[in-house]
């Protein structure tokens, strides 16, 4: 399934938990998806030869209290294994939450992954919010 087809299907889909998606394929080739259960932190989807990557940029390192960066990194490492389907990482100066799926992942499973990732974003940010500016 191409990202364009995925966008089309997502826009027409409503999950069992009443989550809707607003998916737009940007010129850069990134599929930007806003989930109705968390409209503030969009999920960016990209494709490689073998994977579909769903990435939610969380915050920039300069948004972390300067004396709390180590503590934040440790907290993120500690909570990462407990987060269902998503992992935490850092891309350049941006902290990200991401999930990776095989290219032949069923649409229903992609939807589930996105819905859970949008929820995970809120959960993670709530935990580390005191360490942010």
């Amino acid at each position: 399934m191409s990202l364009n087809e995925l966008a089309f299907k997502l826009n027409a889909h409503l999950t069992a938990e009443d989550t809707r998606f607003d998916a737009v394929l940007a010129e850069s080739g990134v599929l930007e998806v806003i989930c109705s259960n968390n409209e503030e932190f969009p999920i960016n989807i990209v494709k490689t030869d073998t994977q579909l990557l769903a990435i939610t940029p969380l915050f920039n390192v300069n948004e972390v209290k300067s004396d709390k960066v180590d503590e934040l990194n440790e907290e993120l490492l500690l909570i990462s294994p407990a987060i269902p389907l998503s992992s935490i990482g850092r891309q350049g100066d941006s902290y990200i939450l991401f999930g990776a799926m095989a290219l032949d992942t069923l649409f229903e499973n992609i939807v589930h992954e996105l819905e859970v990732q949008a929820e995970n974003t809120v959960d993670v940010l709530q935990v580390i919010e005191p360490l942010l500016l």
């Binding site: 503030e40 989807i45 490689t48 990557l53 891309q91 350049g92 942010l132």
Partner: protein
């Protein structure tokens, strides 16, 4: 160690912008070239393997045929001996010896061919491993490139909104508010459903003459007035 070390060095070094090379372009070219070389080698090996395998099968068939001839001549030699024809038996034995020698030669040739076929097969497997390994290495590079692409637009947004403090807190607040609104609406929906349900129950009770207000209605009032006036 693979390409991961190079990737780490590159991202540590600040190659985080889209378009910047994650790893030395030369390293990517080498990986790609190795894959193409391995694919070419596999193609050629498979071609020669087809020829060798055909020769191997042909030899095996010839050996089987010679062995069958040996068996047949042995029977005949025994028959000649039983018939007391020693001279004929010797002649047959000589023929058997010739065939055995030919079979041994072909057997040696067959063994050499089999070894060559095995060698080529193992070479193909090794090349396939190179292709898979290099493919995975390239996939790592592509993954980081795609991650950069997916993160860069948002990073720009971060930079633009950094002027406003507590960006994450404010965004979280808005998410929580929306979730609360949604929960309120759900609760309201449930309340409405409950109300509709209770109306329905009251109507059913009334229809059954249970719990209906007995003092309502003009006829009831008139009845009461009549009783009061002693009529």
């Amino acid at each position: 160690m693979g390409i991961l070390k190079n990737i780490l060095t590159a991202v540590r070094g600040g190659a985080s912008e889209v378009g910047e090379s994650i790893v030395d372009a030369n390293a990517v070219r080498i990986l790609g070239q190795e894959i193409r070389d391995a694919e070419d080698a596999i193609g050629k090996a498979k071609q020669s393997l087809t020829g060798l395998k055909a020769s191997e099968i042909k030899l095996k068939r010839e050996i089987n045929s010679l062995e069958s001839d040996i068996g047949s001549y042995e029977t005949k030699a025994v028959q000649a001996l039983e018939a007391g024809n020693e001279a004929l038996a010797v002649e047959v034995a000589e023929r058997i010896a010739d065939i055995e020698s030919e079979a041994a030669e072909k057997g040696a040739e067959h063994s050499a061919l089999s070894a060559q076929v095995n060698k080529i097969n193992s070479m193909i497997r090794q090349r396939e491993k190179v292709i898979q390994k290099n493919g995975r290495e390239l996939e790592k590079i592509k993954t980081v490139e795609q991650l950069q692409k997916a993160t860069s637009s948002m990073s720009t947004n971060f930079a633009a909104t950094n002027a406003s403090e507590h960006r994450v807190s404010k965004a979280l607040e808005r998410v929580k508010k929306k979730q609360a609104n949604w929960e309120d609406r759900m609760e309201a929906g449930e309340w409405m459903e409950g109300e509709a349900g209770s109306d329905d129950l009251d109507r059913k009770l009334k229809d059954a003459g249970i719990g209906a207000n007995a003092s309502s209605g003009a006829s009831t009032v008139l009845e009461r007035l009549k009783k009061k006036s002693g009529q």
